[in-house]
């Protein structure tokens, strides 16, 4: 995998736009199709929002560290926080049959990403790893460019 791209933002919602923009640039650079790029950006936005809301629960100056890895096969992002640890067995999407506000972030992440894991085996915080297989997506772009 190529050299990772790292970005650290404070735990204030106003920085969500920044992380979305940086990721958009990175995915554009790797010619990830726009629809896929928007979905990956949504997952990272939701993960960071969950950290702000549930892990740090208010303080806006705590670190959220995102590391992006991308090659011709996979997009992987690791997001580290140092807040309240989550119980990964309790993180699950809610039933969508109920039309009510909230609780969709985990559904988006699980629906879009191929692999999602939460690691809390550390003194503080959580390391979230999300992986999306890009093989089919990037191959079709490359074939289109050859035409």
């Amino acid at each position: 995998m190529a050299q990772p791209i790292k970005l650290s933002i404070p735990s204030h919602p106003k920085y969500l736009g920044l992380i979305r923009k940086v990721l958009q640039e990175l995915l554009d650079y790797h010619e990830v199709p726009n629809e896929t790029a928007m979905r990956l950006i949504l997952c990272v936005d939701e993960a960071c929002s969950n950290i702000i809301k549930h892990s740090y629960e208010g303080p806006c100056e705590e670190p959220i560290e995102a590391t992006f890895y991308i090659d011709e096969r996979d997009f992987k992002v690791q997001i580290r926080d140092y807040g309240k640890q989550c119980d990964s067995s309790e993180i699950m999407p809610r039933c969508l049959d109920q039309i009510k506000p909230g609780g969709l972030g985990t559904h988006f992440i699980n629906e879009i990403m191929d692999d999602v894991s939460y690691c809390t085996e550390r003194a503080k915080g959580t390391l979230l790893t999300m992986v999306k297989n890009l093989k089919g997506e990037l191959t079709s772009v490359q074939e289109k460019n050859k035409e």
């Binding site: 919602p13 106003k14 969500l16 629809e35 809301k53 972030g105 559904h107």
Partner: protein, 112 residues
């Protein structure tokens, strides 16, 4: 990132809200603060124009679901207009595209 919300009141107790910018955790409160008084004012229809929104997340969706709930409880209309591809995709993943009344243009949403 901030959003702009522009209100246009129509003579038949209908109001359009045009939104410009990303609706995320940082801006959804502003959207909610704009919409909530409209719910309380008992408008016959609230039409939200999303043509200026390229990005929406679960907090933005939650704000719009509150409009849907208001619509169900008050028997008034809460309609969405001009969803951009990115926003439409998020609604599809949330399986909400068929739950909301969605129109291509403001004119269609106002007439029906």
């Amino acid at each position: 990132m901030s959003i702009e919300l522009k209100l246009e009141h129509h003579s038949d107790d209908k109001v359009t809200v045009s939104v410009k910018g990303d609706i995320d955790m940082s801006s959804s409160k502003k959207a909610r603060d704009t919409l909530t008084p409209l719910f309380q004012a008992n408008n016959k229809a609230i039409i939200v124009d999303l043509s200026g929104v390229s990005c929406i997340d679960s907090s933005g969706i939650a704000t719009l679901v509150e409009g849907l709930q208001w619509s169900h409880s008050s028997q008034n209309k809460f309609r969405l207009v001009s969803l951009t591809p990115g926003v439409k995709d998020v609604f599809e993943i949330a399986r909400l595209l068929t739950v909301f009344e969605v129109f291509d243009t403001k004119e269609e949403a106002l007439v029906n």
